[in-house]
């Protein structure tokens, strides 16, 4: 009986979805609110940004895709933000902050007279509510638990004062990337409900926020629409409307920018970006970014308590072997070939975009196969008679090398690396796996060498933690789970420095420790950092100007992203229309779609299509003719 009921409900569901088909208007449709007076020329229209990675959730407690965080910071304030010049902490909702002499409380003074977009005053009580909700929450911990782990309580003695009490001194208090939410809205969403809460407008009213923009419409897989928040305390953005559109393929994203369907494109593919370069009316920005990629080594997989696990090759526990494998990577070639030149060769785990924190090693491990060979000889892995290096037991020294199926760059990188390692006389067994499989293999310790990467946030704590002993795998019953460490690196000095930086609230002193830690990682080589890929962005210079890069300069003559930054800098500075003439250069008179009229791909494709049709017709006509003759 139960099964029959089950089937019936299935049929009903199917019927419902068929009904939904009959009326395309079934999609949630709300009245578009009447546009409020726009201070700029009416012809400007919305500022439209295209990307390929749709936001997974508008709810700041559940989103995990990087683009989602751009939405949150447009909607909600944080206590502090990252400066556009060097990522140092600067005021956002908090105008000033003070650490108590005993280092156990932090007092933030918030802006006065700030209101939410619905007119309700935004006070320190909202901030305290948000922090307490995370501290005492369960699911709420998922995205922000790391920030509040050290905070015991949040209090609001008055409307503009927020006091956070901490267990031990911590520098993270300047970098609490926690979005302050309106208590009067979120108190009605309990700890269970919050998990699947969509935080999208349903009744036609915008989502209550306090950032430069408020969310007015979201269609999953299609677009996200914002309107300028009239209650925003900062400078009013010049574009009244802001739209993010999803393009599911990289070529279409580039074409949409050329045509002018969008004004800005982010995370462009290298080949698409190359095609946009030099197009009239389009400014391309190969921006220094916060990602690095690495070849990682199994330095001796173990549980956090030191119990060895997995089947990693013991040779990789020898630092000389890892250094040899480090020397055998031609990073510049990887940048040129894998990234089409859009990136910089890698060295340490804090990317150079973070000018203050990045350590540029004094003695770089350059591409040097000879030196690599010497190191392997020293480590006791000599070349055998057939040009193959031999393991301690006399068999060929063999490593497994894992690349990621999801990433073209990863696949190309492991191909190059395999070649260099084989030049060294090593036997390499390369395999492509999915990322979730790789995490599992990393966790079990069942790997030798792998390719992956990380995105590093302005505060280095999280990234540095991934190399601590405590982040090795853990065991629950019979199941082994991965920690954050995928190299299983464990070093006493490093762990000591990690603990030191975690309580050092003096910025300069902490920077010094962070640099020492990078040096240890560089020398011990759990990772060979291969490259820092650029973020490829482009925009219509005839539609917008005065975007600002973060950071403006990285020291090696490069600059950072112009949108999708830490903070909403460009949204506040950018102006519609082409830049006022006089400085020449990038602004262009013509629209890109006219200039780009003759696309070589289309021409070749068109000719090929015509030829194919012609050949097809000719063949069929001939066959018909012959078969007709046969009949006759």
């Amino acid at each position: 009986m139960a099964t029959r009921a089950l089937r019936r409900s299935g049929a009903a569901l199917l019927a419902a979805s068929v009904l939904a088909l009959a009326a395309p208007g079934v999609a949630p449709a709300e009245e578009s609110p009447a546009p409020s007076p726009v201070p700029i020329a009416a012809a400007t229209g919305p500022f439209t940004v295209g990307f390929t990675d749709d936001v997974d959730s508008m709810n700041p407690f559940t989103g995990i895709i990087a683009t989602a965080y751009e939405m949150y910071q447009l909607m909600y304030p944080t206590l502090t933000s990252s400066s556009k010049d060097d990522f140092s902490a600067v005021p956002d909702l908090a105008v000033s902050w003070q650490e108590s002499p005993d280092q156990r409380t932090w007092t933030y003074t918030l802006r006065e007279g700030v209101t939410w977009s619905d007119g309700t005053p935004l006070t320190a009580r909202d901030a305290a509510y948000t922090f307490n909700r995370i501290i005492n929450g369960d699911y709420e911990q998922t995205n922000y638990g790391g920030y509040v782990a050290n905070i015991t309580k949040a209090e609001a003695p008055d409307d503009t004062t927020l006091v956070l009490t901490v267990k031990q001194p911590t520098p993270i208090m300047l970098r609490l990337a926690v979005y302050i939410l309106p208590e009067h809205v979120w108190k009605d969403i309990d700890g269970k409900e919050v998990r699947s809460y969509s935080n999208e407008p349903e009744d036609g009213e915008p989502i209550v926020g306090a950032g430069p923009y408020v969310l007015v419409e979201r269609q999953k897989g299609q677009f996200i629409r914002f309107r300028a928040n009239p209650a925003y305390w900062g400078p009013a953005p010049a574009f009244e409307e802001l739209v993010f559109r999803v393009y599911k393929n990289a070529d279409a994203l580039g074409q949409a920018l050329r045509k002018g369907e969008i004004d800005f494109a982010t995370e462009l593919q290298a080949n698409v970006f190359e095609a946009l370069e030099g197009q009239a009316g389009i400014t391309t920005v190969p921006a220094a970014n916060y990602d690095f990629s690495q070849i990682g080594f199994n330095t001796g997989a173990a549980l956090a308590d030191g119990t060895p696990i997995g089947d990693g090759h013991p040779a990789l526990q020898d630092k000389r072997v890892r250094q040899a494998l480090n020397h055998a990577i031609d990073r510049q070639l990887l940048v040129d070939r894998v990234l089409s030149g859009y990136g910089t060769p890698g060295s340490t785990v804090i990317p150079p975009m973070y000018t203050a924190l990045h350590l540029q090693p004094a003695e770089p491990l350059g591409f040097d196969l000879e030196r690599a060979g010497q190191l392997l000889d020293e480590a006791g892995y000599p070349l055998g008679p057939e040009g193959k290096r031999l393991d301690k037991d006399g068999s060929p020294l063999t490593f497994r090398l894992l690349g990621r199926q999801e990433s073209q760059e990863s696949q190309q990188t492991v191909q190059f690396v395999e070649g260099w390692y084989e030049d060294l006389g090593l036997t390499i067994d390369t395999k492509l796996v999915s990322e979730d499989t790789l995490i599992e293999l990393n966790g079990q310790g069942d790997f030798d060498i792998f390719e992956w990467g990380w995105g590093v946030e302005p505060d280095p704590d999280y990234q540095l933690s991934t190399f601590t002993c405590a982040q090795r795998s853990s065991k629950d019953g019979d199941t082994i789970y991965a920690g954050l460490s995928d190299s299983h690196f464990c070093d006493e000095d490093y762990d000591r420095l990690y603990a030191e930086q975690a309580v050092e609230t003096d910025v300069a002193a902490r920077t010094e420790i962070v640099k020492q830690m990078q040096q240890i990682l560089y020398d011990e080589a759990p990772y060979a950092v291969t490259y820092y890929p650029d973020m490829l962005q482009a925009y219509r210079a005839d539609r917008v100007h005065d975007l600002v890069a973060q950071p403006a300069a990285t020291g090696d003559g490069r600059s950072g992203r112009v949108l999708f930054q830490f903070g909403t800098w460009s949204y506040q500075s950018m102006q519609p229309g082409p830049a006022p003439t006089g400085d020449g250069g990038e602004q262009a008179a013509g629209a890109g779609d006219e200039a780009g009229g003759l696309n070589p791909v289309a021409i070749v494709g068109g000719i090929a299509a015509l030829a194919a049709v012609g050949v097809g017709i000719a063949l069929v006509v001939r066959r018909r003719a012959t078969s007709d003759e046969d009949v006759e």
Partner: protein, 324 residues
């Protein structure tokens, strides 16, 4: 109970049997996938270790317990996607109508146009219309959807030379336009032109060729000679006698294809950024998001099974011999 009813009952029963098998098979199939979804979703995020443990514990309940819960109601609104933290059927509901609209329209147009071409070509076999139409449809049939879509997009979306780019590059509606208004409906249709054309052009050949072939099979039949001998006009012979008999294989084909409507056209959805089920299933495979995968596959299977049952039943109506 007549033989017709018994036949109908048998079709439906075997369809439901297949469905049950799919439900059970899907459950175990996806649990054989390797991987650590929670590790992937929490990587690079500031998630405290206790929370990661809690999330993993949710997915690691005993297999039997999971199976019983799932089998009790595979359509339960409590089944959450591990990646999106939303009920899986809500996620699917958001996407399914876009896919149905796109693929459904393309199949309907392609079957009408294809059948018409097939009839004309088959009836006057070997003449110029036949030669040209067969050549063209075969050529279009052999084009990769992705490539054809890209060419149409660049030519009519961006514009090439003197051809203006009048159609949108992607999406289903212009942001900010109310889909329930007349302008909204027109806007959706305007967005549909290129993706529907791409799919239709690719599907066209199948219908044209099947219709043409089955009509040619009928051409030599005695009953057509009799009809002609009665002095019926050529047009009437074709419409009243030949086509109805030749239509059977085409009907089956249309119905079977309708079953695949929900599984959509991943490539065309990708080229034109169409917000359908195609990309959702791709995303679900990464992770893997088992709950979402299960639901999507169940929906796809239901589509095919239901279309099969309808085809079976309709066949019996169209061809009395089947019932016997």
């Amino acid at each position: 109970m007549g033989p017709g009813a018994r036949y109908a009952l048998r079709s439906v029963a075997s369809g439901l049997g297949t469905l049950l098998f799919v439900v059970v098979f899907n459950f175990f199939l996806f649990r054989m996938l390797p991987g650590d979804p929670i590790g992937l979703y929490t990587r690079g995020r500031n998630v405290p270790p206790e929370q990661i443990e809690a999330l993993r514990a949710e997915l690691d309940r005993p297999l039997l317990e999971q199976f019983v819960t799932y089998l009790a109601n595979p359509f339960a609104s409590t089944i959450n996607s591990a990646r999106y933290n939303q009920p899986v059927w809500t996620l699917i509901g958001d996407r399914v109508w876009a896919t149905l609209l796109l693929v459904g329209t393309a199949i309907v147009l392609a079957s009408i146009l294809g059948t018409w071409i097939g009839i004309r070509a088959g009836w006057r076999r070997g003449e110029r219309f036949d030669r040209v139409s067969t050549g063209v449809t075969l050529t279009l049939y052999s084009m990769p959807e992705f490539w054809l879509g890209m060419i149409l997009l660049i030519t009519f979306g961006v514009g090439v030379g003197f051809v203006p780019g009048v159609f949108p590059i992607g999406g289903i509606i212009t942001p900010g336009v109310d889909p329930t208004s007349l302008a909204g409906v027109l806007d959706v249709m305007w967005h549909m032109v290129l993706p529907v054309t791409t799919l239709m052009v690719v599907y066209l050949a199948e219908y044209a060729l099947v219709m043409r072939a089955s009509l040619i099979d009928e051409l030599g039949e005695d009953y057509l000679t009799v009809a002609r001998a009665k002095g019926l006009m050529d047009k009437v012979v074709r419409r009243r006698h030949a086509v109805p008999n030749a239509l059977l294989p085409t009907v089956t084909l249309i119905l079977l294809n309708l079953g695949f409507v929900v599984s959509g056209a991943i490539t065309v959805e990708t080229v034109f950024s169409w917000p359908g089920l195609g990309l959702l299933s791709y995303d679900a495979l990464r992770g893997p998001d088992i709950a979402l995968l299960q639901a999507i596959f169940l929906l796809f299977s239901i589509g095919v099974i239901v279309a099969n049952i309808i085809a079976d039943l309709l066949y019996a109506v169209l061809d009395p011999r089947v019932r016997a």
